[in-house]
Symmetry: C2
Subunit: 341 residues, 2 copies
DNA sequence: AAGAATAATGACAGCGCTACCATAAAACGC
DNA sequence: GCGTTTTATGGTAGCGCTGTCATTATTCTT
């Protein structure tokens, strides 16, 4: 006598079989209607849909994923949620997949490749359809799984490197370089850098290096630089600029790794009565709305976060299979002239 | 002759059975080790763990969820990602569950209950362990599923209403009321409101009503109000204040539904040379870092977004079963005195 | 020392769905 | 008009786990 376990397990939750019985069709036909797959006669579809509505049937994705060895989940690993930058990326991803069957599972890595690896492995347990992560730098184990997995991979933000599958972003080294050129052209000579100590923020580091390269080419170098511990905030930027100017009163321009810190710098200048742009140039990175809404719009570089997320997700949707060729999409960046440098 | 489908399906991906074979144990024992469940001898555990490491075994959560009729997924439905408020909530949730087996699946509702319902139903297909959403107002269908589902439910931000299971947040009506009282005490009499037109932002609406109530009690009322279409941004706040003051030059204080817009208002005052606080008070809502980093810190109300997310997730982790009693947790709010009102 | 409780492990069915193959009817080609 | 393709549907065997029950050591009572 076979033991039936179904007693009160999912009592009341209708299954494909229930729908099939009510509609007078086989399970597989119902399944095809649900997935919109294969040829189905209009009359059949109507009948099945009615049965689904009547029962309030909700497909069990765990069963579906198990049977097909593939899920509709899209793993998204972001370095942080504290800054609006990554929510913007997530928003782009969400916009691209909102009308599809894909659902984003998100993890936060704190800019730590080891945490990234741990979360990645735990997410692979769902056999995701795609994995989206930030940057091209991962642990060897993570890289191995990314390369061997049966899913699409998109690496965002950065394109200076060798992607697993798709890379969407911009060259941060070039952004830093262009920042330097831009400011040199405007006559600035005594450069300061007010940064943070996020060692794993490869993008900020690349911009810093690009900046230094531009200075070197022009026979210049950073006169002074300081870094705050942690990720850098508006308040940190404000306090850091005060310290930096105390140590190097002769700076004529200060570059910040992001707009948040740069805005803090502007607030310090307002507070201290320092004439922005004429006496001290301020330059940021990201092109946040708030920087552009200020009385003096911030001079900065617009990174296209939303576009990066959206483009990546759209690209991933194009094919379930990983193509032979790797793809690199450069979304570029715009220098925002602004009024602070 | 039984057809084997396993041919190249998951070629190479080791299963529980593979681990069991290598470790010389039964599948169920391996399963118990993986799930850290039931009594396991130390020697056995060591042996199994070694086999897992050797094979690089990754459990298949789809199979696990199917067998146990429960997943480790936590559904998170947020109204928006454009504003840092909801990423802050998400950050709190993530902080609470980061060391657990739970994984957040996120959806964005655009403040639309119908979209919320649609996403909710599609997420229920994963048999989530918990559902987190914003506000206490949902479609009847959504509410029905929330009440009947075999998962915990947390409704965030708002506590003015009847929750399904747990509500964590603050009274927005009271926040609006206290804003009014606070400003009246400081001598302001000619109130303006510069808002947005997000009809479904129930929280902003409740604050507005609370504000009006405080004014009414004091024999006052709004002298002028204006709203921008959409959700409101710094730039919108800036432009809106200009228009509002053009129509009502005699206002002595303006309340904004959020800090972003209020900061825009401050920028307009700086630009137009209006003496903030003495000539015109500015009051926001949220207590964003940037508002406090400004030369004149913004007068506002601190909503404890991170705490709300974290508290809710922690509370959900306490028990898998929904308790008989509903829980309402008031995280409260702080009035930030600031220097703008 | 006999019985009871506990610790440690296993056998096996079945969770709800989809891949794979098969089949029958309708449409098509020339 | 007879093969051939296309359209529409179904039977069935798993997918990889875990719940349930069973079994055998081991330890504890008194």
């Amino acid at each position: 006598m076979t033991r039936k376990r179904n007693t009160n397990r999912n009592a009341g939750t209708p299954t494909l079989a229930d729908v099939a019985r009510l509609a007078g069709m086989s399970e597989i036909t119902v399944s095809r209607v649900v997935r919109n797959q294969g040829p189905i006669a209009d009359a059949t579809r109507t009948r099945v849909l009615a049965a689904i509505a009547q029962l309030g049937y909700i497909p069990n994705r765990a069963a579906g994923s198990l049977a097909s060895a593939a899920s509709t989940l899209m793993t998204v690993l972001l370095p942080s949620l504290s800054n609006i930058v990554f929510p913007d990326v997530l928003r782009g991803i969400h916009t691209a997949i909102t009308e599809t069957a894909f659902q984003p599972v998100i993890g936060v890595t704190d800019y730590d490749p080891l945490i990234e690896e741990r979360i990645l492995l735990s997410f692979l347990a769902w056999q995701p359809a795609a994995v989206i992560l930030a940057g091209l730098h991962h642990t060897p184990t993570a890289r191995k799984h990314l390369e061997q997995g049966r899913f699409r991979v998109a690496e965002l933000m950065d394109i200076d490197g060798d992607p697993v599958d798709i890379a969407v972003g911009m060259s941060h080294r070039q952004a830093g370089y262009e920042t330097g050129r831009h400011l040199i052209e405007r006559g600035y000579r005594r450069f300061g850098y007010a940064g943070h100590m996020l060692i794993s923020d490869d993008r900020a580091k690349a911009r810093y290096q690009g900046l230094c390269e531009a200075l070197r080419e022009a026979g210049l170098s950073l006169v002074g630089e300081m870094r705050v511990p942690g990720g850098g905030s508006t308040i940190a930027g404000r306090e850091l600029l005060e310290k930096l100017l105390a140590a190097h009163p002769d700076l004529d321009v200060v570059i910040f790794p992001n707009d948040d810190m740069a805005i803090g710098g502007i607030f310090y200048c307002i507070h201290a009565g320092i004439l922005i742009k004429e006496r001290l140039g301020i330059f940021g990175f990201n092109g946040l709305d708030i920087g552009q809404a200020m009385p003096l719009p911030l001079s900065t570089i617009l990174s296209k976060r939303f576009l990066i997320g959206k483009t990546a997700a759209e690209k991933l949707l194009e094919s379930r299979e990983r193509p032979a060729e790797k793809t690199i999409i450069n979304t570029g960046f715009d220098i925002i002239e602004g009024a602070t440098a």
